[in-house]
């Protein structure tokens, strides 16, 4: 970013006024497109139960929808369920993906290449092929309609991607650091835990963010596995607002806003690392 600006003719990185205007105009339009649906939902959610039927009016603002979903629906229970499941899946998933990613990155062992291939291939699995057998297995283990079962299921989705990304990230950390750790008498696991993990924080942020968002927004497994209303996650519960018979869009939008807030927070914590983490992982696939 510290390019030298040469005198004379227009230097690299300098633009004419027209180009500047065009650049900013394009970015403003793009930002509006990305922002509009989000703002619109916030807008509708503040307009009362039936405000969604007049999307262009600016009147009747209030928090009616929010108080209704917080007090008269099971929203908070579902919210808690989603938090437990998403955090559980993130912690378990990133932890085991990190150890595997480290082993694949630093050690040469029989089965290493097949494992890398498995990570890639597993991402191609349509959930449709796994969902029925998984339903049976979890049923046999008594894990249907429980947090544990859903956490494990989400791990199976996020672990391959995380391991793949983290392997790429670990590759970008010089091996000399490991050697220094070994010379100082650390075990391989100690090296990984004390030296490499702290250095890999951006990579961990990206994969953790990915796991969290995946689990937070998953619909198909949650709809089938969590059968009692007490155990619904948000993705399942939200569907009950907008069903075949009724359309409580006011409530739906208020819930949507509340759901997006934690995801947004996770995102803002991770976003500074997103670019760095993705580069390292993406280029060394």
């Amino acid at each position: 970013m510290t390019r030298k600006v040469r005198a004379g003719v227009r230097a690299r990185g300098e633009r004419s006024r027209g180009a500047s205007v065009a650049l900013h105009a394009t970015l403003v339009v793009a930002s509006l497109v990305s922002l509009f649906p989000v703002l619109f939902i916030v807008f509708v959610s503040l307009r009362g139960r039936d405000g969604w039927q007049e999307p262009t009016e600016f009147s009747g603002f209030g928090f009616g929808n929010y108080t209704h979903i917080l007090n008269e629906t099971k929203f908070l229970t579902w919210f808690g369920n989603s938090v437990i499941v998403a955090l559980g899946a993130t912690v378990v998933g990133v932890l085991i993906a990190a150890t595997a990613g480290y082993a694949v990155s630093r050690m040469r062992f029989p089965g290493r290449r097949p494992l890398m291939w498995t990570f890639l291939v597993v991402q191609m699995f349509p959930m449709a092929v796994l969902i029925v057998p998984l339903y049976n297995i979890l049923g046999q283990m008594g894990l249907l309609d429980s947090y544990g079962g859903l956490i494990l299921t989400y791990c199976s989705i996020s672990v391959p991607f995380c391991a793949w990304m983290l392997k790429g990230y670990f590759d970008s950390i010089p091996a000399e650091i490991d050697e220094a750790g070994r010379v100082d008498g650390l075990t391989p696991f100690g090296t990984f835990w004390r030296l490499i993990l702290p250095l890999a924080r951006p990579g961990l942020a990206v994969t953790g963010f990915y796991s969290f968002i995946t689990a937070w927004g998953e619909v198909a497994f949650a709809s089938q596995f969590m059968s009692s209303e007490e155990h619904y996650t948000l993705a399942v519960g939200l569907q009950t607002f907008v069903g075949q018979q009724k359309a409580e869009w006011g409530l739906m939008t208020a819930a949507a806003v509340l759901i997006t807030v934690p995801a947004g927070l996770a995102f803002f914590f991770a976003q500074r690392h997103l670019v760095a983490g993705l580069t390292a992982g993406g280029t060394k696939g």
Binding site: P37, P126, V129, I213, G285
Partner: protein, 328 residues
């Protein structure tokens, strides 16, 4: 450490001891690595490997809701489904059952359209964001925002915006003096709407990944090209694009896989009841398994077919990339 492991490996190899001894020595050398990958291997084996095997088996039977084993109260009803060989595949591939080829066509078109738009828009925005300018950080955050919105929330939001009677898009159209459009009723518009939602959701990932790729291209390359008198287009064509190749290869492959299997957008936007032309293979397979008379075998067959198609694609794609690499 890597070096140490490989060197012990090579020194033991010429000795050629017995199989058991070699297995033991291999274990002694590698147990640490194996212990570290063990949790992942166990999770994948139990939650992916076994279900896959079971899915393949189911696709070779005529299992459905009526004949699988189940427990009602204290009574256990044993399974009565039978092995039927490749019958299911034959039915699907010969077009006797369902509309496999029509759905496949739409799924491929959907994937191609989405990935193309994801990549070109992502590349365009990344190129713009990679310049020095005011508000750069702000633009970046705003443009990544759709990524932070969970897909099901975004899909519901768009469904409200597309609503025929009360949707904001039609309200705007009417203000402009145009008639209302039944966005989610007509099957062509439905498809376009689904692509629009998915593009909105997917561009930020591509943009961020490509932005990372752009920043890893050394600035000296651009400077050298400029010194040699290359035009901006030539610099883009011969410096930027080749420099992006590793990132592009990975994100296009991942994007294709994800889009091909994109469940939420189609399932939640178009609704679950209507059997519509806008369904892709994955949502159809899901509907087979969980709606009406549950057709487990048919669903598994579709699942395996989807997986095979993706595998073939991935192999060809990687080979293509490798060939390009050689040709350079």
């Amino acid at each position: 450490m890597t070096a140490a492991v490989t060197s012990t490996n090579t020194t033991t190899a010429p000795a050629r001891p017995g199989l058991a001894a070699r297995a033991r020595r291999s274990f002694d050398t590698h147990w640490y690595a194996w212990a570290m990958v063990l949790p992942v291997v166990v999770v994948l084996a139990v939650l992916v490997g076994y279900p896959l095997g079971r899915g393949i088996y189911l696709s070779l039977t005529d299992a459905n809701e009526a004949n699988v084993g189940r427990t009602i109260g204290v009574n256990h009803i044993p399974s009565t489904y039978e092995f039927v060989g490749l019958d299911n595949y034959w039915k699907v591939l010969s077009g006797q059952e369902g509309h496999f080829y029509g759905r496949l066509g739409w799924t491929v078109a959907w994937t191609a359209a989405c990935v193309f738009l994801h990549y070109t828009l992502g590349l365009g925005l990344a190129l713009l964001l990679n310049r020095r300018m005011r508000f750069r950080g702000l633009y970046r955050v705003l443009l990544i925002l759709p990524w932070a919105v969970p897909a099901f929330v975004a899909t519901f939001s768009w469904r409200l915006m597309f609503n025929e009677k009360y949707g904001v898009l039609n309200a705007i159209l009417e203000q402009l003096g145009m008639g209302a459009v039944d966005w989610l009723g007509d099957s062509t518009l439905q498809k376009m709407a689904a692509v629009a939602v998915n593009v909105w959701l997917g561009v930020p990932f591509m943009m961020v990944a490509i932005l990372g790729g752009l920043q890893s291209i050394p600035a000296e390359l651009h400077e050298a090209a400029e010194m040699d008198g290359a035009s901006p287009w030539q610099r883009f064509r011969h410096v930027t694009l080749p420099g992006l190749r590793p990132v592009s290869g990975t994100v296009i492959l991942l994007g294709t896989i994800w889009t091909f299997n994109m469940f939420q957008v189609i399932y939640l936007l178009i609704g679950q009841g209507a059997s519509s032309e806008s369904e892709i293979l994955v949502t159809y397979s899901y509907r087979l398994a969980f709606q009406g008379i549950r057709d487990y075998a048919g669903s598994a067959t579709y699942g395996i077919l989807i997986l095979s198609l993706l595998l073939v694609f991935a192999v060809f794609y990687r080979r293509l990339l490798a060939r390009q690499e050689e040709a350079r």
